[in-house]
Each structure stands twice: as C-alpha cells, then as structure tokens.
C-alpha cells in the first residue's frame, strides 16, 4: 500500500466512530469595518499602526507624489523597479541622478545583483488599517517577490482607496492563486530577550507613501 493510502486509511478509520456532523462555523466576528476604504478614520488608523511598527509614513496628494518619492529615496543611489511600474513613478525614482534598473528588462536580476541595489519602489494590492499590513500580489508595478526582499529600502506607493479597515475585507480582495506577501513594518526579530530589533534579513526600512 502506498503511504498516501496508508495515511488516508488511518484517517478514515480514526473518524469512523464519528456520527454527528460538526457544528457550523459561527462568523459573528467583525468582517466589515464601520468605515469605508480610504475614509479618514481608516487612513488615520493605518498611519498609526504603520508608525507603531517603525515604518516611515507620509500622506501626500497626487501632485506631491513625485517630489515625495525623490525625497524618500534620498540616500539611495540605485533603485530596482518592475517592468510595469507606472512611468511617472519610475521617472520620479530616477531623479537626483539615481540609477534605475528594470527587473526583466533586459534581464531578470540574480539575487547577487539585487543585493547590490540600494532600494526598490513598488505599488501594492491592499492595505489593512487594523493590523497595519500591506499586501503585495505581484500585480502591476510590484514585480517578483525577490525585488522587494533583497534591497535594504522598500518604498511602497499606496492609494488611499486601497486601504480597508479589517483583515476580512482585505482577504476578500486577494486572489489566492497569485504569490502573496503581507508586510507589517520592516523586517524585525524579537529572539534575543524579547527585545524587538528592526531590520534582519528583509529591508531594514519600510517607507510608505499614502496617496489621497
């Protein structure tokens, strides 16, 4: 007998004595927040949570975005972007004589090549105010997972209407078949005496521009 059949047979035998079906799952937890996506209370909560996680956050108008990107990238000399990043964002990243490398054009970067680049700028799929979380799904402007992992500085441009209040609202907006990365603050560890240290293997700085 294959191990697959052995395990499944054992499970079926283990469950053979069960007679009553299990009770239904109660879903009376909060699924939709009191405030709509992008509303002032949701944005306020998001900013508060992100700052609590040691992310850097700025709220900007569309007109201020390019300057804010240039400003955020002060100190970074090279930036990697996805092929389909909005040209305006790419142009802002290239200001101040920064080198902008496009992943996949002409070539997909190796991990070592990514390691030599200072920063990455991406968009995102959805933000969750209650838990201060931003989710990437590889959609337009976001690229492969590796480009947001290896460079030390991650700049995310998030639009106000992408920010929802609760975790269930965010899960409902995600496509499970895409590779998903949920990010809450920069890389961190609490493994030594439970003292939180920001910045281990992932980007040591998470900078979020909320456009509204």
């Amino acid at each position: 007998m294959s191990s697959r059949d052995a395990v499944l047979n054992r499970i079926r035998a283990a469950l053979a004595a069960d007679t009553a079906p299990p009770p239904p799952i109660p879903r009376d937890y909060i699924r939709v927040g009191d405030n709509p996506p992008g509303s002032p209370p949701v944005l306020e909560l998001m900013v508060d949570r992100l700052i609590d996680y040691k992310a850097v956050v700025r709220e900007v108008t569309p007109d201020q975005l390019a300057d804010a990107i240039d400003d955020a990238l002060t100190g970074s000399r090279s930036v990697v972007i996805a092929q389909d990043l909005d040209p305006d964002l790419a142009a802002a990243a290239a200001r101040s004589n920064r080198t902008v490398t496009i992943d996949g054009n002409p070539a997909v970067l190796t991990p070592a090549e990514l390691d030599s680049i200072d920063a990455v700028i991406t968009t995102a799929k959805v933000g969750i105010a209650l838990s201060g979380t931003i989710t990437l799904d590889g959609g337009p402007g976001q690229g492969r997972r590796a480009i947001t992992l290896v460079p030390d500085f991650h700049l995310i441009v998030l639009h106000a209407d992408q920010i929802v209040q609760t975790v269930p609202e965010a899960i409902a907006r995600l496509d499970p078949l895409r590779p998903l990365t949920m990010i809450a603050g920069p890389s961190a560890t609490s493994d030594i005496e439970l003292e939180r240290v920001e910045g281990v293997h992932g980007p040591r700085t998470l900078y979020v521009l909320i456009v509204g």
Partner: protein, 501 residues
C-alpha cells in the same frame, strides 16, 4: 504490603525521538530548576510577551468571536480531513507542485534527503519549522552528508550552541544576550571580533553570516502554518525575512506539513491571520506572511515539493478526546502563561513541543506506553490552573485533556501485579474509611502530627512513606481536635454529627 513500595518498576525501552526525552518530567524539572540563570531568562521573556499579548488582544472587541470561529473551523477540519487533504493535494499538483506522503519521521526524512540529493547540493537553508524539528530532519540530513542551515535567529542560536529549542516560538528563550554573544564568538566563524551583547549587533552579525547563504542556496526547506484545501495555497508566517528568503530565492523548495494544518477555504485566513500573530508574538500582525500556490512561472522556486506528514497524527485523531490537541496552531501562548513552564523551561518536557500543549500533544503523537514511558509523566507537568485555556486562540481545553490523560496513565498501570505506593495508600484509606470506629481512631491519632509541625504549623519532614509527599511539598499540621470532637463539645444534646436535632 508496604515492603513492595520501594521496588523499582521495569522501565520500558523507548525509541529515541525528538518527541521523547530521557528523563521523566519530575526528574528533568528538578534538574532545570537548579539553574537560576535559566529561570531569570524565562521569567523576563515570558512576562514581556504575556504583557504584549494581553494588550493586543484587549484591543479586539471581537476576540471571543474569532476564537469561536477558529475552534469551530478546526473541529470541521478534523471531521472532514480525508476530503480536504485530497482536495488540497489535487490543487497543489494542478498548480505545478509535487506532493509526497510520509507515514512517519523516517519516511519524511528519506524523501527530503532524496530530493536534496537530486539537486546535487550538500547544503540547504531552512525556515524555522516545528514539523522538521519533530522528525529530527537536521540530524538525519547531517548523517547523510547534508548541512541544514537554520536561518531564524533563535534557531541559529540553538544550532550554533549545539543546544535544543526550548520554546515553540522563541526556541532560544532560555538564553540571554550575553550567552548569545558567547555562542556567536565561539561558533560563528565570521562573527566580528568586537561583537557586543547588544541585541541589534547580534542580529546584524546573524544577517551578515546568513546573507551569502541566502543569495547562493539552491534548495530550501520550510514547514507551514496553513495549507488551504480550496486553492492549494500554503502560508508561512514569520518576522525576520529569512522565511521570505527561503521560500522565494532558491530554485527548489521542499515544504514539510503536518496533515492537521489544513484550512478549508482561503476565506478562513481572515480568522487565523488575526488569531495567530496576536497570540504568538503579541503583535497585531507579524512583519512577513508569505502565501504561495504551487509554482508561479518567473517568480520564486520553480520546483516545489510538499510532504504531507502523519507521524502519529492519525493516532491522535483516532482519540476522541485527544483529537482536540491537533487543533493547535503552534502559537505558544499557553507556554508563556504557564507557571510550570516558566519555572522548568522547555527542555524539562523532553519533547520539541513543550509547555501545556506539549504535555497534551506529545503523548498523543507518541502514545503513552505505560509507567516506564517518560511521556506518561507529561500530563502531570501542570498545576491545572487553566491559564492555558484562557489564552488558547482555538480554545483547546488543555486542562481537561491533561486530567483525562492522567486518568489514562493511571488506568494503564492497573494491570500491574505489584501494587504501587498509590494503590497501597488508597487500599489502606478505603479500609479505614469504610468503618466509623476505625476512622475515628485514626482521626484521633492524627492530632499527634501537631508535635512534628514547626512553629508555622507546617510539617516539613515525614518518615517514609510520608516522605514521598513532604519531599516536594509541606503539609499543614492537623487541627487540635477533630470535627467529631468539636461537635460533641458544642452539641452535648446529640450523639453524632448529622443526627436528629
């Protein structure tokens, strides 16, 4: 009869396993209790994490509703496990993954080793994973000439220190900063010579040490927090980014998943992604969660192997009571509130799953093989105070399960031909208590106990067999008079308590 009391029982030989220590819990605990440094490290760490958890749970008005949903989901998963596993397997395969099944640790280790060999490498990077700890994968790989590099900071500290993890979430919780620095200086070849014990410096030393390994590794091994049946999606929850490195940079990813980690639908994540981080690290959300489904062309590993692991889980499942232990999502909240864990530390439990849930889960996975099995002592590693149940995000009734397992450990011993001290004491008590005259006579004698009690009215040393009790606990001195004597004195008109007024 008392002459039998000191005769040692035959100890059954048990196979060595990461789920079974060498000493019974009381003996192992006594050894650990002698380590003051360990207790200080633990007291500090658990109190920090308890406070953090309480804060982020208190701010959730729907916390109890989330717990109820989590508990009910797990109950459904267990009752529907065969169909969910088959659905999950089909979806992983449909998305380009390869699925393997392993009945036990040996089989899982062999599959992993063959997969690593097929890639022609002798070093792999690892995400922290309880499933691979449980099967002793690192040791097995090492015996087969493959170095498994732990990339979680705490696991790295444990690995470099030739130590064992002592906590489900914070494996090096028993080490303080100075001990970590000493381990790094002694064992990490590229550690800076001027390394201080500042946590930030230590974390940066680990970053430098692991960076090159991340960037060049061809094969990574992970566990999983969730497997979604409906989609074939797998989730890994972490903080440092080492998990993201492992599950995205190498060409080949091998994931070992206990069969109980299934969730039916992607929507169920809305419950568990709230329950898990708040319960485990005391954060609203852990810094990084990676979710992937099979293979994504052009992004991440292009070879994905999933190993579905039984290793005792079907034994636990077959047990109507113990099945609840399989609901565990390994958050470790129960460890951080447990007064017994806080004093003995994780090593005393002898299993990779320590603390209250470990005391239930471990004997369920291995079975309890009578009095000689050290895992038969684990259900006693608890004060039954109930704090573990209060914090459990999926409402596992750990104290009830411990009591049930204690009953079974006693039952398993009933067939012995030589009675133990407990049986003898109970038989004697039964003989005395079944007759009022005998009982009254013994009661009168008890007052003599006042003579051996100290000024604080506590008896600290009794001769054998009473020493079995006073060795670990004081005994209050008996009262001056018995209830019957008091009744006679205060109710001279009646013959005995409970008689007609």
């Amino acid at each position: 009869m008392s002459t039998f009391l000191g005769i040692p029982r035959k100890h059954a030989a048990q196979e060595e396993s990461p789920l079974r220590g060498t000493l019974p819990f009381p003996k192992a605990a006594r050894k650990e209790l002698a380590n003051g440094q360990l207790r200080r490290n633990l007291a500090h760490a658990t109190s920090v994490i308890r406070t953090k958890r309480a804060q982020v749970v208190d701010e959730m008005p729907d916390w109890e509703a989330l717990r109820d949903a989590g508990a009910a989901t797990k109950t459904q998963v267990m009752s529907n496990l065969p169909a969910l596993l088959e659905q999950f397997e089909a979806n992983v395969i449909a998305r380009g993954g390869v699925v393997h099944w392993a009945t036990d640790a040996q089989e899982a280790n062999r599959i992993v080793t063959d997969l690593v060999r097929a890639q022609g490498v002798d070093e792999v990077i690892k995400v922290k994973s309880m499933a691979t700890q449980e099967i002793g994968l690192n040791e097995y790989l090492e015996d087969n000439g493959i170095a498994a590099v732990e990339t979680d900071l705490a696991e790295l500290i444990v690995q470099l220190g030739h130590d064992k993890p002592s906590h489900i979430l914070v494996p090096a919780i028993h080490r303080n900063r100075t001990e970590v620095r000493d381990i790094f200086l002694a064992e990490m070849a590229d550690a800076p010579a001027d390394l201080t014990d500042e946590p930030r410096r230590l974390a940066m030393a680990a970053r430098e040490h692991l960076r090159r390994k991340f960037l060049r590794s061809k094969v990574a091994i992970s566990g999983t927090n969730f497997g979604i049946a409906e989609t074939g999606t797998i989730g890994v929850v972490e903080s440092e980014g080492n998990g993201r490195m492992c599950v995205t940079l190498p060409d080949t990813l091998i994931t070992v998943m206990g069969i109980e980690k299934i969730l039916p639908t992607f929507t169920d994540l809305e419950v568990f992604l709230q329950l898990l981080p708040r319960s485990s690290t005391g954060e609203r959300m852990n810094p990084y969660t990676s979710l992937w489904t099979g293979v994504t062309p052009g992004d991440g590993p292009q070879n994905f192997h999933l190993i579905l692991l039984d290793n005792g889980r079907t034994n636990a499942l077959a047990d109507q009571v113990g099945r609840a232990a399989l609901h565990c999502i390994r958050c470790s909240a129960c460890l951080n509130v447990c007064p017994v864990y806080e004093r003995t530390g994780g090593h005393a439990y002898g299993s990779v799953y320590p603390g209250p849930i470990g005391a239930v889960l471990t004997p369920q996975l291995t079975g309890m093989h009578g009095h000689g099995d050290v895992n038969s002592t684990l259900p006693y590693a608890s004060s039954l105070c109930g704090a573990c149940y209060d914090v459990c995000p999926v409402k596992i009734p750990i104290p009830d399960l411990l009591v049930e397992l204690r009953g079974r450990a006693v039952d398993a011993d009933r067939g012995r031909t030589i009675p133990g001290g407990w049986d003898a004491a109970m038989k004697a008590a039964s003989w005395i208590m079944s007759n009022p005259t005998r009982f009254a006579a013994v009661e009168k004698g008890l007052a003599a106990g006042r003579l051996v009690a100290g000024k604080d009215q506590k008896i600290k040393h009794l001769p054998f067999p009473g020493s079995a009790w006073t060795h670990s606990k004081d005994m209050p001195a008996p009262p001056k008079q018995t209830f019957r004597q008091w009744w006679k004195q205060t109710h001279p008109d009646t013959d005995q308590p409970g008689g007609p007024a």
